[in-house]
């Protein structure tokens, strides 16, 4: 299908004139057709200047499809024909006051005022504060139905979010999730940028995905500037990305073990996760990889001696991690807890537009490292790790397979270029009137950043789409007809970001 689209690659930029400007009806029809043909809605957002942009991700062809349309005050909602759009449309309404008529569950996403002046989509008075979480919740009527509310303050040291269960005894009919408590206004802050602070703000979009968000931002700024980072810098970024994946997958598998009360893997993985984080610190001084990336390059190099040292440490931590996780998958009582719990059917996963680990656990091999490689060269060899079943076990198993693959990738990257990699970044001056998209496969899934520059070469609009934005709905699906006591385990198997969603 060629259709009314502009085709581009991840990390690419186009002049705005080259982006087809369709009537809204045509764009709407084109999105429905493209999603029907197996593409994924990567982004549906306004630009603050009266247009809406659609980005579709075509994993099979390694392409991104972009088009735009003028945006009226209200339009017939996309969601009834394309369920993936449901959060994007709510977000669009919240940010620009555009009402999608016929949206089946129309409520705010992050509970903030709109980005541009104008009437509120819900008619909330201007002089009243918008409080997070204050919205109608879905309820089930009946004497035997009871409601359980969890959060936003939780028993553990985790981020805030509100979960509302409609239960029949121990069985969950429906779960609704209210987020937005950590909204910081990252997209708003980027307007008029890139500012000196923009890089730091993007790194903090979701702290556990610092490298993924940082790199996606670098891709956008570099593409807008027409600059390509040098190969050694790209290798170092790829190394940091795999270290981030190793630390988080190890931590997640340990946390899953902890939630089932399986002590050995829970405690070993806690320590091993620290070993991987320390490897990130060995490169840039931050265990989360903060301060490593800059548009145009990297801020720290890696000499031969340190590479050797890191390879040794990686091998040791990797062997421990694999051993500890094998124990998890070899213990029958753990497997009994993982299997057939929190099932998301593949057809639902595709319809809801799930991404990353949650999608691969439904047998769909989408992986941006392979499908949309950062520097245009082929990604990791072999197909992406997938699992069948869409249950907690599948999500855990995909993580284990990816952990082992990342160990090989990181070791290979450490062997590349024995000579010291000099730090440094090229100058990036974004071109005016361009649109660029960054797409990086973080450990949770693909992180998409979209930047549009105005006539002054400054960001007219900057959009961040964390994989959590797509996947929270998957957690709600996983809990349908599930035991409420299995919610923590299901939640951990997704391990989604609150701040990455709240931005």
């Amino acid at each position: 299908m060629s259709g009314p689209w502009c085709f581009m690659r991840a990390g690419g930029a186009v002049a705005l004139e080259a982006v087809p400007d369709l009537p809204l009806d045509a764009l709407r029809a084109a999105v429905v057709a493209a999603v029907g043909a197996g593409r994924r809605l990567g982004c549906w957002c306004g630009d603050g200047a009266g247009r809406v942009y659609a980005v579709l991700v075509d994993d099979a062809a390694g392409q991104l499809l972009v088009a735009r349309a003028p945006l009226p005050d209200s339009y017939p909602a996309l969601t009834p024909d394309c369920p993936q759009a449901h959060l994007f449309e709510r977000e669009l309404a919240e940010q620009y006051g555009v009402v999608p008529v016929g949206h089946p569950w129309f409520k705010p996403v992050r509970f903030h005022r709109r980005l541009t002046p104008g009437p509120d989509a819900w008619g909330r008075p201007d002089d009243e504060a918008v409080l997070p979480g204050v919205a109608d919740m879905f309820t089930v009527a009946g004497d035997e139905v009871h409601e359980v509310a969890v959060g936003p303050v939780h028993a553990g040291v985790i981020e805030p979010g509100h979960f509302r269960f409609q239960c029949h005894g121990e069985v969950v009919f429906h779960l609704e999730i209210n987020l937005g408590y950590q909204h910081r206004g990252i997209e708003r802050a980027a307007i008029g940028g890139p500012h000196p602070r923009s890089m730091l703000q993007m790194e903090a979009a979701a702290g556990d995905s610092t490298i993924a968000h940082g790199w996606a931002h670098c891709q956008v700024v570099e593409a807008l500037a027409g600059v390509a980072a040098e190969q050694p810098a790209l290798d170092l970024r790829a190394l940091m990305l795999e270290l981030e994946r190793l630390a988080n997958h190890t931590g997640d598998l340990g946390a899953l073990a902890g939630d089932t009360g399986f002590l050995p893997t829970a405690s070993f993985n806690g320590r091993i996760r620290g070993d991987f984080l320390n490897l990130s610190a060995a490169v840039c001084g931050s265990r989360l990889g903060r301060g490593m990336l800059r548009p145009g390059g990297v801020r720290f190099g890696l000499d031969a001696a340190r590479r050797e040292d890191m390879r040794r440490r990686l091998e040791r931590a990797g062997a421990d991690a694999v051993h500890s996780c094998r124990l998890l998958f070899a213990t029958a009582s753990v497997q009994a807890r993982f299997e057939d719990v929190g099932v998301v059917r593949p057809i639902d996963a595709a319809a809801a537009g799930l991404v990353g680990v949650a999608r691969r656990a439904c047998g769909h091999p989408a992986d941006a490292r392979r499908d949309h490689p950062a520097d245009g060269r082929p990604g990791p060899a072999g197909p992406a790790a997938t699992a069948e079943g869409g249950d907690v076990h599948a999500r855990a198993f995909v993580r284990f397979a990816e952990l082992q693959e990342s160990l090989r990738l990181a070791d290979g990257l450490l062997q590349r270029d024995a000579a010291a990699t000099p730090p440094g970044a090229l100058r990036c001056r974004p071109r005016p009137g361009h649109l660029a998209i960054g797409l990086i496969e973080g450990w949770r899934g693909p992180v998409l950043h979209l930047g549009i520059t105005g006539d002054d070469g400054r960001f007219l609009r900057y959009k961040v789409v964390d994989p959590s934005f797509h996947n929270w709905f998957g957690l709600m699906l996983a809990l349908r007809d599930e035991q409420i006591s299995d919610f923590p385990l299901c939640n951990k198997s997704f391990n989604l970001s609150y701040c990455g969603f709240d931005l």
């Binding site: 028993a155 089932t260 405690s267 213990t331 009582s333 006591s485 299995d486």
Partner: protein, 313 residues
């Protein structure tokens, strides 16, 4: 009764009381230590539960405005019922200070009374979490009761007809049981081990270390307690653990030594049970809540087969 015998009996009663009241927190500390060792950590000090109790007793209690006297009754009942039940249960050769016909029913239902009060005090808070925990606790304890009583029936078969259902006599028959039908006794012991784990909310039934309210059974029922009442609950839970462990141990411990020997084997037995629980908790995951009833019914079946084997010996 002459003076030396009286002195001996008093000594045994005192030793029993001392074990019952002072030792239980150590068992909880020992479980934590074993789990820490499996996890490759040092873990908290062995005496940490005593420190915790001392800390909690010095703290101020906070009571929610929605609660009534029922909420305050729970912790007191938990301790009192566990201690009273302990007075009737012998520890191996250490006879129970109190013993009378039908006391085994009292033990079972004192523990049930404590649980009933805990459930009421949980419901009194009006919290959705505590309500869920209360319903789970009620359901699972119903299923655990048959295993305990079938075990009593198996032992009663060893006694001459017309016995008074006195716990001391019943448990004193255990050595005969091992001689006549060791298989049946082993089944009863296995069933009672399951009862020990479920009554004390240990893995694989409940996870005493979890912070996840939605998965908890017992822990969630005491979330709203604080300060001295929480201390009472923790102490009561430890005593209850010791009491059920004493029941289990009376099946297997040798007896008939001197006071010191009986005391030593009793204490060693309790410590061994704590280590065993620690090992179980370190080596397996918790059951899915849906599967808990299956295992409890299996335990009742084990005890039932124990009855059959002891009946046909």
């Amino acid at each position: 009764m002459d003076a030396p015998l009286l002195l001996e009996a008093a000594g045994r009663a005192l030793a029993h009381l001392a074990v019952l009241t002072l030792l239980p927190p150590l068992l909880i500390g020992l479980i934590a230590k074993v789990k820490a060792a499996f996890a490759g950590r040092n873990g908290p000090p062995l005496l940490q539960p005593y420190f915790d109790l001392a800390k909690l007793l010095r703290k101020q209690a906070v009571f929610s405005r929605t609660t009534t006297w029922v909420f305050r009754l729970g912790p007191v009942a938990a301790v009192v019922t566990a201690l009273l039940a302990g007075l009737v249960v012998p520890l191996g050769g250490l006879a129970a200070p109190v013993s009378f016909d039908g006391d085994l029913l009292l033990v079972a239902y004192l523990l049930a009374l404590g649980r009933f009060c805990t459930i009421l005090s949980a419901l009194d808070t009006g919290s959705a979490f505590e309500g869920m925990g209360a319903s789970r606790e009620a359901a699972f304890s119903c299923l655990a009761e048959p295993a305990l009583f079938l075990g009593f029936i198996a032992l009663a078969l060893l006694l001459p007809p017309g016995g008074g259902l006195r716990l001391a006599e019943l448990l004193a028959a255990a050595p005969d049981g091992w001689r006549l039908a060791a298989g049946g006794m082993a089944l009863v012991a296995a069933a009672w081990l399951v009862v020990l784990l479920v009554e004390n909310c240990r893995i694989p039934f409940d996870d005493p270390n979890t912070h996840l309210e939605l998965t908890m059974i017992h822990e969630v029922m005491v979330l709203d307690h604080s300060g001295p009442p929480l201390g009472l609950i923790l102490y009561g839970a430890a005593v209850k653990f010791a009491v059920i462990a004493m029941l289990l141990l009376s099946l297997v411990l040798p007896r008939g030594g001197g006071l010191v020997a009986d005391l030593a084997t009793g204490v060693a037995g309790l410590l061994a049970v704590a280590v065993l629980v620690g090992v179980v908790e370190s080596s397996m995951a918790r059951l899915r809540l849906l599967r808990v009833p299956t295992l409890l019914v299996s335990a009742a079946l084990l005890a039932g087969f124990g009855v059959v084997l002891l009946a046909v010996h």
